[in-house]
């Protein structure tokens, strides 16, 4: 496989592609972008296979590569981060209005909430988005995030704190544009 035999690489691609696609879909919305990310991940994996030492499972090594590729993608595609409240769909607006009036009703209409959270994630900076996805959506520990991203544990903690504050600001801005 290290000699460039793609046929031997095929079982790995077949086995781990669903996992890589699931990761990529956390960071990109358009399916064409998701496919570009996954393609990039496999190209890098094929080229860098020689650096895989085998001391940890292949999946861990691959996911580290996938997360870093997704982060690179976010950094290079920051164009559509700014969204305005008028772009919110009716269910999203209704969900927000309802939860602002009574936060205990948040569990109703989860689909609208998911749309809104994706919109908020789109507004975050690349590092904030990465840390929010890994920490809050994938529920990884700070240590795991540090291993995946290559950041130090204190840096992950600082970025997580800032990401949460950034998300709060984005949400407050959306609400202010609508109600003030």
């Amino acid at each position: 496989m290290l000699g460039g035999d793609t046929a031997r690489f095929e079982p790995l691609v077949v086995k781990y592609s669903p996992r890589v696609f699931a990761t990529a879909r956390r960071y990109a919305r358009r399916e064409s972008e998701v496919e570009d990310i996954v393609q990039e991940v496999w190209s890098k994996a094929f080229q860098k296979l020689g650096t895989f030492r085998g001391t940890a499972p292949f999946e861990h090594w691959l996911m580290r590569l996938a997360v870093r590729t997704c982060y690179d993608f976010l950094r290079h595609h920051q164009r559509s981060r700014e969204r305005v409240f008028s772009e919110l769909s009716v269910p999203e607006q209704e969900w927000l209005e309802r939860v602002m009036a009574d936060p205990s009703t948040g569990s109703a209409d989860a689909a609208a909430a998911r749309q809104l959270v994706h919109r908020l994630l789109d507004m975050l900076s690349p590092s904030a988005r990465l840390v929010m996805v890994l920490l809050e959506l994938e529920e990884k520990s700070v240590k795991e995030i540090a291993a995946l991203t290559g950041w130090s544990v204190p840096l992950v903690k600082v970025r997580a704190f800032r990401a949460r504050a950034e998300m709060r600001r984005c949400l407050a801005r959306i609400a202010a544009e609508k109600y003030l």
Binding site: F21, R25, V99, G106, E136
Partner: protein
Amino acid sequence: MNWERIIDELLAAARSEPANGRVPYAFERRILARLAGAPPADAWALWGRALWRSAALCLAVMTASGLWWIWPAPHLSRPLDFSQEFQHAVFAQASQVDVVE
């Protein structure tokens, strides 16, 4: 407004969404065909690329230091060159001797 609570509700909703690991039809074949067609990594090419990058960096440093040398800071007067300094030193001593005499 309790934004923290609202964010928690939003994130809980997002967590409840199952991960979508659907792979497009024949994607593996496309990837493998692409990998098979890709040129193998050439160590000399990588070395050459690194050299070109370092050459560009050296050029940038050279240009910056050249500019720094050509344009002195505006508030500083231009220093005397060596010949003028030497001349001043020699004549200063000579004028001191005249004064003593």
